[in-house]
């Protein structure tokens, strides 16, 4: 406990790094995520085959087939290569909506916190979105927008909006009551300067912490939408759609569905361990209350 208290007194960057490297779970998460990100960036260099390069003769080959470590899928495509190429869309569809959602929520949450009346309406609007199970709303919006990566990400941003706005709103309301904001007001600082120059940096950290804790569940939701056929389309390589394709050959070649799902689970574990680490490092109070 004392350790994390002293950490927050240091500049956040150093505190974060040392807190994460000293937290075994978070460190593991960082390494795993690092490997996947590396695979995504350097896919053309490290993938043995192209994502849609098929060898129909070796269709459904089991892991260990010569030249194909992790086996081949129903079209004879190398699973390892598709995993490596697929890490790009899997990571992108999980992470980009979280980042975009946080960015959009910042001004909305700030304005809602500053202007009470408008804020009340905004919050009530968000309450309505809270009344939907997250996955359900994402499925509905994605289904109506039409399948595709872009539309899927838009639907995820919409689904995340109420959660992101609430986090920003709460942080902003807390800041608003602090003396420095009162002082800024007294000297006649324009509202937009107060909100977007003075308040923003203090509120952003809450938004970032929240974002890191939900990346994992967004990765699952995004892959789930692709599994349903609402996100990445065939022949695109993405882990959710790879599981869906493997499902059709589960009776004869279980590895086709098993391997991408395993990677997906590992990625989500890494994200949540890292997210917990970031949260503990930035906000020791939560650690105290959850005792994680």
């Amino acid at each position: 406990m004392t350790q994390s208290t002293t950490l927050t007194l240091r500049p956040a960057r150093f505190g974060m790094l040392s807190a994460i490297t000293s937290d075994k779970g978070a460190f593991f998460g960082l390494i795993v995520l690092g490997i996947f990100v590396f695979a995504a960036i350097f896919a053309p260099l490290i993938a043995p085959f192209g994502p849609n390069e098929a060898d129909p003769m070796l269709r459904l080959g089991a892991p260990g087939t010569a030249g194909h470590w992790l086996g081949l899928d129903h079209q004879g495509r190398d699973i390892l290569s598709r995993l490596i190429w697929g890490s790009r869309l899997t990571l992108a569809t999980g992470i980009i909506p979280v980042a975009v959602g946080a960015l959009i929520a910042l001004p909305i949450g700030l304005l809602a916190a500053w202007y009470d009346r408008a804020g009340g309406w905004i919050l009530r609007g968000m309450d309505v979105l809270f009344a939907f199970p997250m996955a359900l709303l994402a499925i509905m919006v994605a289904a109506f927008l039409g399948s595709g990566v872009g539309n899927m990400m838009i639907s995820l941003v919409i689904v995340l909006l109420p959660y992101n706005v609430r986090v920003v709103y709460q942080a902003a309301v807390e800041q608003k009551s602090l003396p420095y904001v009162e002082a800024l007001r007294v000297v006649g600082t324009p509202v937009r300067t107060i909100l977007f120059v003075e308040l923003l940096p203090n509120v952003a950290s809450a938004a970032i912490v929240y974002a890191t804790t939900i990346v994992g569940s967004m990765v699952i939701t995004a892959a789930g939408l692709s599994f349903l056929g609402l996100g990445v389309q065939p022949p695109g390589a993405e882990w959710g759609i790879m599981v869906a394709e493997g499902r059709s050959v589960i009776f004869i070649a279980p590895h086709v569905a098993a391997i991408p799902g395993l990677c997906l689970s590992l990625l989500v574990i890494a994200c949540s361990l890292l997210g917990d680490g970031v949260r503990d490092a930035l906000d020791p109070r939560i650690r105290a209350s959850f005792g994680a």
Partner: protein, 315 residues
């Protein structure tokens, strides 16, 4: 308490109204002409115009909403484009199966969530605690659509312990025992990640409670360890436990959609999936509306139970 129930019940009205509005407006997200999208590009112009008139798409949006809401209040959710029957019939036909699946999953979440929390949080830092923490981390991270396939393969195809599809045996339907056998795998698939979340959050509270003075007193009085953990401490984590369990209802609905698809469970999630593939938008709207309504009332009940359990909140 009665006053609280009434007030909360009344409070759900605007939320339900908002939900209906969102479900209605979402249809506007469909790019281009909804009727054309539903019927496809080979349909004749007359058929498209006819469907547009049936769906009321030729009128101003607010008029459309008010009409739609009026019909909704009378239980008319429109016609299924693919099945040619009223949407309400489709929903009522399927919602029973979904509620059975949800009920079974929620029971698993409640029982195992609290059990794992007490076993781990009551014995903080023990080997068992560490094991449960690791287990729940994995459980919370496994995508439901993949877990379903893995369970289907292992327990359905390899060990042949459970059936892998549907609600009853096609050839030889056998009442409750048959239903329960079909229920195991989909219910576990649906429950696992929520169960893990409930266990983790409740465990955190459990650790706090175990450090409180009254537990110290109980120890000093010489109460047995099991009595302290499973009676004295558990009693005080109940509000947290009920609260977090209530929040899981939404996630359960999300996971249930996937396990219904994987296990061919004839519920509203599977229907939703088929409606999406068939572009049967009225059924999509109806299914979403039905699930959201059940979700709102589920949350309401969970809130009321939490309030009843916590004397400090029941004001």
């Amino acid at each position: 308490m009665a006053k609280l129930i009434l007030r909360r019940l009344f409070g759900t009205l605007p939320v339900l109204l908002g939900v209906s509005f969102v479900v209605f407006v979402a249809l506007q997200l469909v790019p281009g002409d909804v009727a054309r999208t539903i019927l496809g590009y080979n349909a004749t112009e007359e058929r498209v115009a006819a469907l547009r008139a049936i769906l009321g798409l030729d009128r101003p949006i607010l008029v459309q909403y008010v009409t739609w809401l009026g019909n909704l209040a009378r239980g008319d959710l429109g016609q299924s484009v693919a099945l040619g029957v009223p949407v309400l019939t489709v929903i009522l036909d399927k919602i029973g199966a979904s509620l059975i699946l949800m009920g079974a999953s929620f029971a698993l979440v409640l029982v195992f969530g609290l059990l794992l929390a007490a076993l781990s949080g009551g014995h903080h830092r023990s080997p068992l605690d560490r094991m449960i923490v690791l287990l729940t981390l994995v459980f919370a991270s496994v995508p439901p659509f993949w877990l379903g396939i893995v369970l289907l393969y292992l327990f359905g195809l390899q060990f042949r312990l459970f059936p892998i599809s549907g609600m009853y045996d096609m050839a030889n339907p056998g009442g409750l025992p048959d239903l329960l056998r079909h229920l195991v795998l989909p219910a576990v698939t649906t429950a696992v990640s929520s169960l893990a979340v409930v266990a983790r959050v409740t465990r955190g509270r459990m650790i706090d409670v175990m450090n409180q003075p009254y537990i110290m007193t109980a120890k000093a009085r010489g109460l047995s360890r099991p009595r302290i953990v499973y009676v004295e401490a558990v009693r005080n984590v109940l509000p947290t436990y009920v609260g977090i369990s209530g929040l899981q209802i939404g996630y359960l609905f999300g996971s249930a959609i996937f396990s219904e698809i994987v296990f061919n469970w004839p519920g509203i999630g599977l229907q939703l999936y088929q409606a999406i593939i068939q572009r049967d938008f009225p059924v999509v709207q109806g299914a979403v509306l039905a699930i959201a309504a059940v979700f709102v009332f589920g949350n309401l009940i969970a809130d009321l139970i939490a309030a009843a359990l916590d004397p400090k909140r029941a004001t």
